[in-house]
């Protein structure tokens, strides 16, 4: 089965990102494919490189990066939502003349078309939010 996953909330504030991650992991363990994980609304904050959670707590952004690295998963932050919330990759940094970027490894910023495409191409679209 090919899955698309939509994450609508940021790390720690809501359980959404945790649930999505655990679902993605379980799906992979069952031999399924994740077409894309798309982060929208505050979900774009899952892509920060700068989180420093306490040592005894899970590192949500890093966990996504590691999963993406291990299984070649496409992690996409919506560009419009990212711009509003200050999630910046090197291209956006240049384009919008910012003095820094803050995106974590294996995340990329792209348009809402990537979410629509996931809806069309994946066999199942699961949404985690508030």
């Amino acid at each position: 089965m090919i899955f698309g996953i939509l994450v609508n909330e940021g790390p720690y504030q809501h359980q959404a990102s945790d649930s999505a991650y655990l679902f993605a992991k379980a799906a992979i363990d069952e031999g399924h494919t994740i077409f894309r994980v798309f982060f929208y609304h505050d979900g774009v904050n899952n892509g920060t490189r700068l989180a420093t959670p306490p040592q005894d707590d899970r590192h949500i952004p890093n966990r996504w990066s590691e999963l993406a690295n291990e299984h070649n998963i496409d992690l996409v932050l919506c560009v419009a939502a990212a711009q509003r919330r200050g999630m910046v990759d090197p291209d956006e940094m240049k384009r919008n003349k910012k003095d820094a970027d803050n995106i974590a490894d294996k995340f990329r910023i792209s348009g809402l078309g990537q979410l629509i495409e996931a809806g069309v191409q994946a066999e199942r679209l699961i949404t985690f939010g508030d």
Binding site: Q15, S19, L22, D29, L125, T127
Partner: protein, 100 residues
Amino acid sequence: MLHTVNKSPFEKNSLETCLRLIDDNSAILLIEDGVYGALKNTSISETVIDAQKITKIYVLGPDLKARGLDKSSLISNIEVIDYKGFVNLTVENEKIQNWL
């Protein structure tokens, strides 16, 4: 169709709306705070028991456990599943509606 509900019925009307709009050939999986919807002896337990006439209700075990609950806290005939079971439900059901 697989319906998921992630909010407590005492916080938000997501379970109520789900039950109003759910089709006969369906399953409900309660996740996150939604698991509280499966508790017995609450003000909405009767509504949920009634819904069981037309739909099968599942609860995500890890979310139950996190909240200090287990199968004995729930109304009868609720199936507790893990994330592997969650994935299987999404594979078995062609369509999915995630009530937030």
